[in-house]
Symmetry: C2
Subunit: 445 residues, 2 copies
């Protein structure tokens, strides 16, 4: 339904330009496309010295068709950021990004195998074996604005004896600007025994024919698979518990785990949430949830978040089901001061400061405005029991699988990003090599 | 991020068809588009007597560009239903539909005026006046499936001395099947005084030049603007209170009111939510919410919802801010038994029964499955105070405006739909006239 404050945009009952357009354009009734309509409107507006809607001919063009790259090892899809996917700063947030990663990953499967009646990709040959995500890491340099067209590229790779990997690269489809990247780790389990299972060798060999060679990774391997620290009880940060909504349920019959990110955001102190930009999230999936579950949201600062010295902030997050010790999700989030984050993202995206006042004005114009309420409370002491051992003592099959697969040799310390780079393991933008040229080419629309 | 149970679809590591494809297709390395890739895969699969991915060449084509109809009075946009927009039945729910209505309404404004830096449509000439939605009604005959391409058409109209109206028609873009319709009522208020304001006559005249003539309406006028009954306290249905999430905040700086629908769903008894299909929702917007608000969710059956006699069920919903008497939203929902709803929607969409087992199997295959918990409790008695008078005694500017605009002459009794139809006021599918032919034409892609 419609947002009250957005009404001006939605009803659009003031049309001086199109009135002129009706008068001056003999082809008025034959304009069939948005492009021709908008062009005529712009021409009419120019006659009347009214600023023409210069972007109207562009912003509503549909994305290009989803497609593979030339050797079918990379799947590419574009998405226009919708109004309901943008927040008060007019930009997509991490929830939107996570949803798009999920979508393009699923569509990659559908593009190869078609869609079954169930809605999933109709992939043959993996009887009794299913893949389970155990870890995901998203690193964002900038977030796209409402109306921006984003381009997601995804590909997969073998990643150890029992794990596979899916990576993503995110960019602005119109400007080519690099926005971020993500990587995820998957294990295979037997659907009946729920035990770890190895992918049959024949299947793996076929699989590798559609994987980039040499393997690509969207985030430098030196920055991935860093072990998350233990959560120290009692928690320093808590937020009101969250109810798993029926509308959060997904085609798998459980809560879409993007909701975990939404819940976790509630524990971030207000000054950090308002003045910092989430630049990275590293997530370990432990268990699933369903509608009706009450989820307790805890946080633990890994930096001195009380000070506002403009340095990077980090938090450890833990979600667990209310009334039990079942840990659902653990994650580390990294936040950069907005000014620093915007400078890093380049001039093309340093627009928040100009957009924000307009947003604030729009919000202020809405009747019955309510002051924002801080969603998180920084607790000096907490009534939450110090049962960390119990929380970590119960692991799901997925968590157990992760424990097997993420061995000590792959665990990195929580240090600063070293961003070491070689042709075979990195395609982040700070790399001086040119092997990511295909990815950074600006779309010609 | 990725759903654990959806992993098979996302990683897609089994590629016998593409292996064949590599062997038999000399143009393998030159296949650039999804269409050619999928076609080759299908051909290779046919050689191996494997069911080809017949839909792969189609389901990932991008929607057509957003566009106007010939006389620029109707704006048309298409959307592919994403995985995160589908529920356990593999279909979009009312939340998805409401988000798409919002999106196409906003884009209609952007298509006419371009997009301002704020993200909103850059509409000139309405200084100090803003539009506020007071009412919305969505009527669905069928819900699109995950992967379906839906087509939304929208247009506006004058609707009384102080109100305007925006309507929508929703159909399957590939098959032309009618899915549903919606209508909304808007008032104009002065942004400074917050009082009702009349649209200047000159603006209105320009506005009407882009409105269909004679006026169109997507839902028969005999079925719209039916007054919602008073809520009787104490409530018979309650659900756990909902926390306004930061991720629910929208570009207006308040909670996207689509979240109201998500909250309201929690109060529906489990057997109705599982066995019935939401066929209509009529909403009165009373106040806005912001992140951190605790929202109390109440319900009142308008039919004998305890019996399972297969008849239509209705509920009255009321949302209010916890700890206050501020009524946020009141709505009536109408639910039809799923079998009846599917029959009404036609054979093309009677696929739930075949899709559901696959979905259930996928869900069952996920580790650590948790039994569903009923989200609503049918209270014989309730501890909620009987303060209905107080709840209704405090009205926002929007609510006051609605009270002015929805006069007795327009209020209909809560009877069965009479579906009276004439060329000027109706374009629902049961109409035997042919004036909606443009709308029901199947897209040729």
């Amino acid at each position: 339904m419609l947002r009250q404050g957005q009404a001006a945009a939605l009803s659009a009952p003031c049309i001086p330009q199109l009135r002129l357009h009706r008068c001056v354009c003999p082809k008025y009734r034959a304009t069939r496309s948005l492009v021709s309509c908008a062009t005529s409107v712009a021409a009419a507006a120019a006659e009347a010295s009214v600023a023409p809607p210069a972007v109207a001919h562009r912003v509503l063009l549909a994305p290009k068709d989803a497609r593979f790259n030339e050797d079918c090892t990379v799947f590419i899809e574009e998405f226009r950021i919708r109004g309901n996917e943008a927040g008060p700063d007019q930009r997509a947030n991490i929830i939107t990004i996570a949803n798009l990663l999920q979508e393009v990953g699923g569509n990659h499967g559908v593009a190869m195998w078609g869609r079954a009646n169930s809605g999933f990709a109709a992939m043959p040959g993996m009887d009794h074996l299913i893949f389970v995500a155990t870890r995901m890491q998203i690193r964002m340099e900038a977030y796209p604005k409402w109306g921006d067209l984003v381009r997601l590229e995804t590909y997969f790779a073998e990643d150890g004896r029992l794990t596979t990997r899916r990576d993503w690269r995110i960019s602005n489809a119109d400007t080519g600007e690099y926005l971020g990247a993500a990587t995820s780790t998957w294990v295979t389990i037997n659907a009946e025994s729920r035990r770890l299972a190895k992918i049959p060798e024949a299947v793996k060999q076929r699989f590798l024919q559609l994987a980039p060679s040499p393997p690509r990774c969207a985030i430098p391997t030196s920055d991935t698979r860093r072990k998350l620290p233990e959560f120290v009880w009692p928690p320093q940060l808590t937020a009101p518990s969250q109810l798993g909504r029926r509308s959060d349920m997904d085609p798998n019959g459980h809560i879409n785990n993007v909701a975990y990110l939404a819940w976790a955001m509630e524990v971030i102190p207000d000054h950090v949430y308002q003045q910092y930009q989430l630049s990275e999230v590293e997530m370990d999936f432990k268990a699933e949830c369903t509608a009706g579950d009450q989820i307790e949201c805890f946080g633990m600062p890994l930096t001195d978040c009380a000070s506002s010295n403009g340095s990077t902030q980090q938090f450890l997050h833990l979600l667990r089901k209310g009334g039990s010790n079942t840990e659902v999700w653990r994650a580390r989030t990294t936040w950069k001061p907005q000014k620093v984050a915007q400078q890093a993202a380049g001039a093309a995206h340093v627009e928040t400061s100009s957009a924000a006042p307009a947003a604030a004005a729009a919000a202020a114009a809405v009747p019955a405005a309510v002051p924002a309420v801080p969603a998180a409370v920084l607790n000096g002491s907490s009534s939450v029991p110090a049962n960390g051992a119990a929380v970590n003592g119960k692991k799901s099959a997925a968590a157990a699988a992760a424990a097997v697969c993420v061995g000590p040799s792959l665990q990195k310390s929580n240090g600063a990003s070293t961003a070491s780079c070689s042709k075979t393991d990195c395609e982040h933008t700070s790399c001086s090599n040119n092997h990511a040229a295909e990815s950074t080419t600006t779309s010609s629309r």
